[in-house]
């Protein structure tokens, strides 16, 4: 663990983030795509509820892994920071500024004995005409790092391997949506967690710089691509 973070930063990572459903985010040539493996523990849950992808202001999207209630607190704080920045500077907050402020906030909870660290990793991304796509991750220790492709949660290792195979800087968001879906489906553990819902969101040129849930037609296309890829790999196993 980082010496720069508090003594307890390792603790929230274990029960919180590492046991949560996988979350991946990829930064393409014209935007950022988020994919979340939302594990469904009960058929009674309403579909589409308890979203793991959230918007902070309208130009920044985030996906969270870990304790959902902690995530809510962090996202609320991020929204406050964005509002405050907009109030003072009359421009939307740049992603880097937001991550700095949020990183400080998360870090605060690692240096006092009376507080426990946030059990959440949050991936934040934005796109604008001038600066292009940006993706950053804030982990429970409060460190904010920029990425081209990032994965957290259960299938983190496998997902990272898959992401490394992609040539992200050359792919557009439309193509990446399918790839992200495919990766989530492939790292999903069918045995341990029966049901899951794939949440896909994107922000980029195609959305005019606004963070949105991927529209149904593109979503269905991505799921189909992912399922087909999964079946193909299953067939390969059978042949061997």
């Amino acid at each position: 663990s980082d010496l720069s973070s508090g003594i307890n930063a390792e603790w929230p990572l274990r029960p919180g983030v590492e046991n949560s459903g996988s979350v991946i985010a990829v930064r393409g040539s014209d935007g950022v795509v988020f994919g979340v493996e939302k594990i469904i523990t009960s058929q009674l849950y309403e579909q589409g509820n308890n979203r793991r992808v959230q918007s902070v202001d309208d130009h920044i999207g985030g996906a969270v892994a870990g304790m959902l209630s902690d995530a809510r607190a962090i996202v609320a704080r991020a929204r406050e920071e964005a509002t405050d920045y907009r109030d003072v500077y009359q421009v939307p907050i740049p992603l880097k500024m937001l991550c700095e402020r949020l990183g400080h906030y998360v870090h605060l909870y690692t240096v006092y004995g009376g507080l426990r660290p946030f059990g959440v990793s949050i991936l934040l991304g934005s796109w604008d005409e001038l600066n292009g796509a940006k993706l950053m991750e804030i982990d429970p220790s409060g460190s904010a790092r920029g990425y081209y492709g990032c994965a957290v949660g259960k299938g983190k290792q496998n997902a990272k391997t898959e992401i490394e195979k992609l040539d992200m800087t050359k792919l557009t968001c439309r193509e990446l949506i399918k790839e992200v879906a495919k990766i989530i489906y492939s790292v999903h553990d069918e045995v341990k967690d029966k049901h899951f819902e794939l949440e896909l969101s994107w922000i980029g040129k195609d959305t005019g710089g606004k963070h949105q849930i991927v529209p149904k037609d593109l979503y269905d296309e991505a799921v189909k691509y992912a399922e087909e890829a999964l079946n193909d790999s299953d067939d390969e196993d059978n042949v061997m």
Binding site: Q54, S55, V56, D58, R79, T83, R86, D87, Q90, I213
Partner: protein
């Protein structure tokens, strides 16, 4: 400085005066709050900018919830009424008259007026400033004759009113924008001008 609206169409000049000086000739007095509402501001422009900032933040707050629900025109109208009335009661008014043009959750057209003293009402035709003296009677007549007019006819009525206003109000500018809120689209046009005919000006009598 004046502007006027109709059921689903709203228009405002692009002039920001500094007393009698036509100081800023290309300002936006119409603001698209969200897909259901356009507001137009009359009066102090700084106060209007303040209200626009608050409304912009409200729309962002609605968006991040992510359920596709936005405040509709009556809600925004009522919110503005609360803010404006409160400020007047504290003897610190926002010196504006705002017109709220839009639709409610059911998709029906809505047109409301709020004042710097907190007066608020809903009507089919609304106008501020000079418009309430010159344009309002014209709009009311048009509505009486053709209560179910469509967007294009409404725009034509507004342009006619704006032309007369430019003729009659010496502190006006022949440049305005028209905003439309309808079932399909909510948008504000580029600035445009009314065609004017000053030929009768060559032979005035009694004003020499």
């Amino acid at each position: 400085k004046q502007w006027y609206q109709r059921r689903v169409a709203i228009t405002a000049g692009t002039l920001g005066s500094y007393g009698s000086l036509a100081r800023f000739r290309d300002i936006q007095r119409l603001m698209k709050v969200n897909d259901s509402t356009i507001i137009g501001g009359f009066g102090d422009y700084a106060d209007f900018q303040f209200l626009m900032k608050l409304l912009r933040q409200q729309t962002i707050d609605d968006e991040v919830v992510g359920d596709g629900v936005y405040r509709d025109a009556p809600a925004i109208h009522n919110w503005l009424r609360c803010v404006l009335y409160n400020r007047r009661t504290k003897f610190n008014p926002l010196w504006n008259t705002i017109v709220v043009a839009g639709k409610n959750y059911g998709g029906e057209p809505y047109l409301g007026y709020v004042d710097k003293i907190g007066v608020a009402f809903e009507e089919k035709t609304v106008a501020t400033g000079f418009g309430s003296y010159i344009a309002l009677p014209m709009m009311r007549k048009a509505m009486d004759e053709n209560p179910d007019m469509g967007v294009e006819e409404a725009k034509a009525v507004l342009k006619r009113c704006l032309r007369v206003l430019f003729y009659r109000d010496c502190r006006s500018l022949n440049r305005f924008q028209i905003g439309v809120v309808s079932a399909g689209e909510t948008s504000i046009s580029e600035p445009m001008s009314a065609d004017t005919d000053w030929s009768i000006g060559a032979n005035p009598s009694g004003y020499e």
